[in-house]
């Protein structure tokens, strides 16, 4: 028996684990191979002691005299692991030379991930897929931890990694930091000062848990996390391209998303509804003859609105883009967004060629498109039949009179115009008038020249000036009646508060429906993605490498349209689907920590990054599914972990040297507020934020400079109700071509494509907005009023209160001194009462880094 000298192993392991190789062996495999070679192959290589050969996957599966050495995916059942753990009678390696906890962990996770071995690097074949994310997640064992209290499993994984890497964990954040963190994280809003002070008095774990639960129940959570999801699914209220068509009822999908998060809809159901709400919960939705939509129908209607996800993409809205081309773009968008949002895979590359890096073939891509081949966008009423009736009654009794008045008005204007034109023509020679009477398009150049003055003269007729006093009276009277009629149109149905969308516009949603079967076009693989280069026809299908080539079957015969989307949705939400749960769990992790366990949130393929904590990711994914795909349960577990509650201000040279990017999460990440959160926070501390939820997008006014470049003024028709100008950012109109300037400046999502993660840039226009835009200044005035109302005129008290409202803390003595100094010098300059000075101090506070960064 050979005793091997145990060489220092950890540094190598760490290096291997951190190698972010795109190609070749996954880190777990590399590490496992190195470890086996180092410790085992001396006997179980060429020598094949006890018949065991650990040099090949096949021979390991076959095993030696005691049976198979490994069971891929099942560390607990793997003899190899039992042997090195020394839990049974077999203890390996023999003698005193035992493997360390970390080394055993390497083997465990390698087996857990399917015991991949380089020479079975073929996808779509009989064996397990070679890429980690394509293998089904298996719930790993939670690492054993030391310490007194039972650990949150998350911390067990995180701390094992910290130990392995020799990193020191940061201490817990102080209570104020923690409550601000969890408030901004879950609601996108700052806490009120009294809540902070109460939490500072009792920062117990119990109090923290209660806080977390309360925030998760708040509708503000739905708005905050709904917006995260809306980024992922490229939500916008307009279609982009040249015309930037307004998507009139896109907001119904936005509200559906917010409600889904608020109501903690299981994520599998959320996926199913968005892909195939209409197919899984089919309902003719025949409008009921009563005022009430039965609950069942309402549920189905809600599910159907979920498919609106496919109707909020970019759209070329121009005249003659032919149907075929427009349709090809639509199908591409639908396939891409399905891949990005749910599978975390970039399918787009496969539009033109087989994916170079992922085992997604071009055929897979067009098969995915073909799943949507029978689907189209349709607009459905989302109200009861009585609203339609109410509309019809109002139409005949109120709208028709207005229409007739308008006809009369137009006739009057036209009569006067004709009369005046005749008078003008009389002043011109007959041949000019004759040329003028010809079709404008048929005039010769010379005729054009001679008629030009006449054309000008007629065009410059001011009708109202040409009217007789009687006519003018009638004109004004008609206008008044028309305006009055419009103003008096009801905004909702009579007895029941079902609002019309606009002027008598019945509530509708744009959702997915189906073509008549005869109209469903075949989908072809397109050579280089080009429509005029069709190749083989493809049938709807799932990506082969992910589904083991499972075929989709038309679930109907005859003239019905097969429900392929339903099959896609059900496949995606199978409990052991390798991607769906991992991808969403990773997104949630990113939303909380500012970095994903897989840092490429929309790319779980070979071009993406491998997970920093593969076992944790799989544990979370499997636990998420086992717990019923409940988002709030997942949030809660993460928020209650020590990892989440750590300080972000912990500086440690040794840590920084080993893991400058904090990939092991030895501390919390500091985050800059997102664009919407900055808007919300400024209004919240000023006390002006409206918490009105849902409905048509709201449109805050823009300055003249901000309007520059709008194609038409009517692309930004601002809200008539001042309250709507102070609504939460998530409700602000999202125009693909003209994003709200503040959001643009602070890295808001570009809804052209899925945006899983926003950039965080630091540029001068941000400073200019906070310093100079009218919004922060107006809100600073509101904050100043709020401060004055609270504490009166004492300058020191004012400074303290401003700090408490805006930053949820008392100023330091130094800050207080400086602020008073500032107030005094501002007053000295404008010689005014102290209110304007206080307003300016408040504006300064909005500009503090502390205001827009969360520790």
């Amino acid at each position: 028996m050979r005793i091997r000298i145990h060489r220092p192993f950890l540094p190598v392991l760490a290096a291997v684990l951190w190698a972010e190789s795109v190609f070749g062996q996954a880190p777990a495999e590399k590490a496992a191979r190195a470890l086996l070679a180092e410790n085992c192959l001396g006997c179980h290589g060429e020598l094949r002691m006890s018949g065991l050969d650990l040099r090949q996957r096949e021979t390991m599966l076959k095993g030696g005299q005691r049976g198979p050495a490994i069971v891929p995916g099942k560390p607990v059942e793997s003899l190899l692991l039992k042997a090195v753990e020394r839990t049974g009678d077999l203890k390996m390696p023999p003698g005193k030379q035992t493997l360390s906890v970390e080394q055993i962990g390497v083997l465990r996770s390698w087996i857990n991930q399917g015991a991949r071995w380089e020479n079975d690097n073929k996808d779509g074949g009989a064996g397990a897929p070679s890429w980690w994310s394509f293998r089904k997640p298996v719930r790993p064992a939670v690492p054993v931890t030391s310490g007194n209290r039972p650990k949150n499993p998350i911390d067990a994984f995180i701390e094992a990694k910290l130990r392995e890497k020799g990193l020191t964990a940061a201490p817990p954040a102080d209570p104020r930091t923690l409550i601000r963190r969890v408030y901004f994280d879950l609601t996108g809003l700052p806490p009120a000062i009294d809540e902070v002070e109460a939490f500072e008095k009792d920062p117990s774990q119990a109090a923290y848990e209660k806080l977390v639960d309360r925030l998760l129940e708040s509708p503000r959570y739905g708005e905050r996390y709904g917006k995260h999801w809306l980024d992922v699914v490229r939500y916008a209220d307009s279609g982009g391209y040249e015309t930037d068509l307004y998507l009139r009822n896109a907001w119904r999908y936005r509200d559906y998303v917010i409600q889904s998060f608020h109501l903690d809809k299981p994520f599998d159901q959320f996926v199913q509804e968005q892909i195939a709400g209409d197919e899984i919960w089919p309902d003719d939705l025949a409008l009921e003859g009563s005022y009430d939509i039965p609950d069942e129908k309402r549920k189905h209607l809600t599910a159907w609105i979920g498919t609106g996800m496919y109707a909020v993409g970019a759209e070329v809205g121009e005249s003659n883009l032919d149907f075929k081309k427009a349709r090809a773009e639509k199908l591409a968008d639908w396939a891409d967004i399905t891949g990005a949002a749910f599978l975390g895979l970039t399918f787009g590359c496969a539009r033109c060629h087989d994916h170079k890096f992922d085992p997604v073939t071009q055929k897979d891509y067009y098969r995915l498109q073909a799943i949507f081949g029978g689907s189209r966008e349709i607009e459905i009423p989302v109200t009861d039949k009585m609203q339609l009736r109410a509309r019809d009654i109002v139409f005949s009794t109120q709208m028709l009179p207005i229409l007739e008045l308008r006809t009369a008005y137009k006739l009057l204007v036209s009569d006067v115009t004709k009369r005046s034109a005749a008078a003008v023509k009389a002043r011109f020679p007959p041949h000019v008038v004759a040329a003028y009477e010809k079709d404008a398009r048929k005039r010769t150049a010379q005729e054009k020249a001679i008629t030009a003055p006449l054309v000008d003269a007629i065009q410059s007729i001011q009708v109202e000036k040409e009217m007789t006093p009687d006519e003018l009276r009638r004109h004004d009277d008609l206008l008044r009646q028309i305006a009055k009629g419009i103003v008096n149109l009801p905004t909702q149905t009579g007895d029941r508060p079902i609002p019309f969308d606009g002027l008598l516009d019945v509530a509708t949603a744009t959702v997915l429906g189906h073509f008549e079967r005869a109209l469903v076009r075949d989908v072809h693989v397109l050579d280089r993605g080009e429509l005029d280069r069709p190749r083989d026809k493809v049938l709807p299908g799932l990506p082969a490498a992910l589904s083991q080539g499972r075929a989709l079957t038309p679930d109907c015969s005859g003239n019905c349209v097969p429900y392929y989307r339903k099959q896609l949705a059900l496949w995606l939400t199978e409990s052991d689907h390798p991607l769906t749960s991992r991808v969403i769990v990773n997104r949630v992790w990113f939303w909380h920590f500012g970095q994903g366990l897989v840092s490429t949130l929309n790319d779980f393929g070979r071009q993406g990054q491998v997970p920093t904590h593969p076992e944790l990711l799989d544990w979370l994914a499997t636990d998420f599914v086992a717990g019923g795909w409940r988002m709030k349960r997942l949030h809660r577990m993460i928020l209650l972990s020590d990892a989440y509650q750590r300080s972000s201000r912990f500086a440690n040279d040794a840590n920084a040297a080993k893991d400058a990017g904090n990939r092991s999460l030895w501390r919390m990440n500091r985050r800059r507020l997102e664009a919407e959160a900055i808007w919300d926070a400024v209004h919240a501390v000023a006390g002006t934020l409206s918490l009105r939820m849902g409905g048509r997008p709201v449109v805050p006014p823009l300055s003249a400079e901000e309007r520059t470049g709008l194609r038409s003024r009517n692309q930004w028709v601002h809200a008539g109700d001042p309250e709507d100008q102070n609504r939460r950012g998530v409700y602000v109109l999202v125009r693909r071509n003209s994003r709200f300037p503040l959001f643009d400046i602070f890295d808001g999502a570009d809804p052209s494509v899925s945006c899983p993660e926003r950039d965080v840039t630091t540029v001068a226009p941000q400073a200019l907005w906070l310093m100079n835009n009218s919004v922060p200044f107006q809100q600073a005035q509101h904050l100043a009023r709020r401060v004055a109302h609270e504490v009166g005129t004492n300058p020191a008290a004012r400074v303290e209160q401003a700090w408490r409202f805006a930053l949820q803390r008392m100023p330091s003595p130094e800050e207080k001194r400086q602020a008073l100094e500032l107030l005094a010098s501002l007053e000295g300059l404008d010689g005014s009462a102290s209110q304007p000075a206080l307003e300016k101090l408040c504006l300064a506070i909005f500009n503090l880094s502390e205001f827009i960064f969360v520790d």
Binding site: G661, R672, D759, V763, A767
Partner: protein, 481 residues
């Protein structure tokens, strides 16, 4: 590349480095100086700046670009591509040999359309004898400086996608504009002004999609200026209740408090960058109005550009501002002219637009040359496509992406030549065909960049301005005599 801007924890510095940087860095000091306050500390390197100037891949003359974007699509046969045969066949049907299955037009059916010759007259200009129509009498005087490319084409006959193709190289939304790529590649040399400027004399079709940064960080997006006077950049002036003196006091305090805030967070470079951004913002606030103040120019210059003539005033202001910005190191300037979409009375449309732009563009060329800036400034004139040689409706021309003309000048380009050719009727590019990806690759090359190397990794792959094309590069031909 991407992670540098993504707000994850920035690379931690050693404690010593961090302390050296904290609060005492360039930003803090410079703002203090700007505000006339006590400046105490020595300057230290600021955190990595995504806009820092970068060396091109190889040496090239052009350092900045002015793109004259003729929105709507000018007709090639009425501007830079003379077609005597078309005039001879005026009024006749499009010959059968010119029709084909893939000839899609927005409004007309090629089979029923009648040919329409130009109403313009073409003349040879300069020593080179380059032919230019009489729409551009002033520009024609610079014929020996212009290189016309008559064989451009791309893939869409509809405005929206075509605008995206010409400005981003891609037919779908979400891609960075040409100016963003150039800024990403070369960085900024105008510390007090945005380095990618957009001005328009009217509404912009597709608005921000034409100059957005797509998946590149937002710092590379174009900044829209109001050229008509008043405030040049949004949020440039403080609210009226805030006097200049008060603003200085506020800035000083903000700066001081933000420095205190960094003190216990030394290793977060975003926070020091933020202090620096206030310095930049303040400098911009000081400098931009000065740049926009055209009364600093002599009356002769203003007249030469046409600033005083109502017909040309708008575009003239844009051109004169461009020269002032090029002087200050602005990298990429996009001037949008409205609107060449001549579906009816195409000639009237073009006469009007040419009249609005001819004098200003010619004056800008002369001015840049006289100041020694023409060699380092690449001028590009283009629309989103050309127009049909067949008539639509009342003497109109429909969109046509099958063959159209652009021109380049300055930036090392040797003018007085025409590259490529369309067919005898001016419908399709037939000789030396140049796809929009090739145009972009050529522009990058003239700026010293290899279009294959200027990449950005996004959603699983490296993207470029030139998509998967750009393999026909005209830069060598353009700079040769």
């Amino acid at each position: 590349m991407r992670s540098a801007f993504c707000g994850r924890v920035a690379p931690a510095l050693s404690r010593r480095e961090a302390i050296e940087k904290s609060g005492l860095g360039l930003g803090a000091m410079a703002l203090g100086q700007l505000l006339g306050l006590d400046a105490r500390a020595s300057a230290k390197a600021a955190p990595a700046d995504p806009l820092a100037p970068r060396r091109p891949h190889f040496s090239a003359k052009a350092k900045s670009v002015i793109l004259f974007f003729m929105q709507g699509g000018p007709s090639q046969v009425d501007t830079f591509d003379p077609k005597p045969a078309l005039s001879r066949l005026d009024g006749q049907s499009l010959p059968a040999s010119f029709r084909s299955e893939d000839l899609n037009l927005q409004f007309i059916k090629a089979g029923q359309a009648k040919l329409m010759g130009t109403r313009r007259s073409f003349r040879r200009h300069g020593q080179s004898g380059l032919e230019i129509s009489d729409l551009f009498p002033n520009l024609s005087r610079h014929a020996d400086g212009l290189a016309v490319i008559r064989s451009c084409f791309h893939d869409s006959f509809v405005h929206g996608p075509a605008l995206l193709l010409m400005n981003t190289g891609h037919i779908r939304m979400g891609f960075p504009s040409m100016g963003s790529w150039v800024l990403y590649g070369l960085g900024s040399e105008s510390s007090n002004l945005p380095s990618f400027i957009v001005m328009s004399d009217g509404g912009i079709r597709s608005s921000k999609s034409l100059f957005g940064s797509g998946f590149l960080p937002a710092v590379y997006q174009g900044t829209l200026l109001r050229a008509e006077g008043g405030t040049l950049i949004e949020n440039l002036n403080p609210p009226e209740q805030l006097s200049g003196q008060d603003q200085r006091l506020l800035l000083a305090k903000i700066n001081e408090w933000n420095r205190q805030h960094v003190e216990s967070r030394e290793d977060d470079s975003r926070l020091t960058a933020r202090i620096r951004s206030y310095e930049l913002a303040f400098r911009m606030q000081m400098e931009a109005p000065e740049v926009g103040n055209l009364s600093k120019e002599t009356e002769a210059v203003r007249r030469a550009y046409g600033v005083e003539d109502p017909k040309t005033a708008k575009f003239a202001r844009m051109c004169l501002l461009s020269r002032r910005m090029v002087e200050r190191g602005v990298r990429f300037i996009q001037l949008i002219n409205n609107d060449w979409d001549g579906h009816s009375e195409c000639d009237d449309n073009h006469v009007k637009n040419a009249a609005a732009t001819d004098v200003p563009i010619a004056a800008l060329i002369a001015d840049l040359r006289q100041r020694g800036l023409l060699d380092s400034t690449l001028l590009v004139w283009a629309g989103e496509f050309g127009r049909t040689p067949v008539m639509q409706g009342s003497m109109g021309r429909d969109h046509s992406p099958y063959g159209f003309s652009i021109w380049m000048a300055g930036g090392g380009v040797r003018g007085g030549k025409a590259i490529g050719a369309t067919d005898d009727l001016g419908f399709r590019a037939v000789e030396d065909k140049v796809h929009v990806n090739d145009i972009h690759g050529t522009i990058l090359a003239l700026l010293g960049m290899d279009h294959l190397k200027l990449t950005f990794h996004f959603q699983g792959r490296d993207f470029r301005l030139t998509d998967v094309g750009g393999h026909t590069n005209l830069a060598q031909r353009l700079v040769r005599a």
